[in-house]
Amino acid sequence: MKSNKFWMILFGALLVVSGVATFLMIDMPQAVYAQIFIDGALVETINLSAVSETKDIVSHGEGRYVRIVAEPGRIAIVETNCYLQLCKRQGWRNSGVIPIVCLPNRVAIRFTSANLPDIDGVVG
């Protein structure tokens, strides 16, 4: 049996490593493209730096309702019918490795610095 000290050091180290990884992923240079995925399929890629006026993207059907708005340099989920509204609360984003996700509606927004094809989709 390991001592309490062993477990505390182990979890402490895990906490530090995860904290550094999170910080690095959040502190990314501003992305140029936002890729919108619905049900795993890439439905739209928006060049955030090229958006000159507000762009509305609404997805509904099969119990889903999500309204995504893109403005110059940023994007957000502004309306949704999901229970916790966590995706909406993530607010306006313009970068980061960590995507905006609405799990109940199966919608995700990923940020990239280049207009890459949907690599995952190609592999899958």
Binding site: K2, L14, S18, T22, D39, P99, V101, R110, D120
Partner: protein, 186 residues
């Protein structure tokens, strides 16, 4: 058999109440899947403590050991807690996430249980919470079809360590208090 049935029913009822009440509390961090998970205290409790049916309580308490329990009890509580809890809160879509997370946590704790003492149940709480989040993230990857959701993992690990230590410590203190009380009664 009747005692066990009542025991499981009571634990399930407590777990459901905790689950529903926790769902009323707003989540301060807007990250899907991050929450305290207080109902997991009951799952941990069921894994580490069962009322001795065949074994005399006196003998168990004297040996000062955790009574051996079946993971099946904890799984039964988990299954009914998720089913009833989600029905009451109207979040049927969360069934897959809750069950996947719960099963991952259960298996991880069941294995980790062999490596901890009764004063280290908090360790199982942390391991369970981390694996609960890993299970949820895997299901999220499958449901949304977007494997890069795995980037949430470091945040989920941080959340798992903090929330797991709290729920694990709650389960540990409850079990130790009950065992202590039984020793006094004997």
């Amino acid at each position: 058999m009747t005692i066990k049935l009542v025991y499981l029913a009571v634990l399930t009822a407590i777990a459901v109440i905790i689950y529903v009440v926790e769902s009323w509390i707003p989540i301060p961090i807007p990250i899907p899947g991050v929450k305290l998970g207080l109902a997991n205290v009951i799952t941990l409790f069921a894994l580490f403590y069962t009322p001795a049916e065949k074994q005399p309580i006196k003998q168990t308490a004297k040996k000062n050991q955790l009574t051996p329990t079946l993971g099946a009890d904890a799984f039964t509580i988990l299954l009914f807690r998720v089913l009833i809890g989600l029905t009451l809160t109207g979040r049927a879509t969360a069934f897959l996430f809750s069950m996947a997370g719960g099963i991952f946590a259960l298996v991880a704790v069941f294995i980790a249980k062999r490596f901890v003492t009764q004063k280290q149940i908090w360790v199982c709480g942390v391991i369970g919470a981390i694996f609960h989040n890993i299970g949820q993230i895997l299901i999220a990857m499958l449901v949304t079809g977007t494997p890069w959701i795995i980037t949430y993992l470091p945040i989920f690990i941080i959340a798992g360590i903090i929330t797991g230590a709290i729920t694990g410590m709650a389960a540990q203190l409850t079990i130790l208090r009950i065992m202590e009380k039984k020793s006094v009664e004997i």
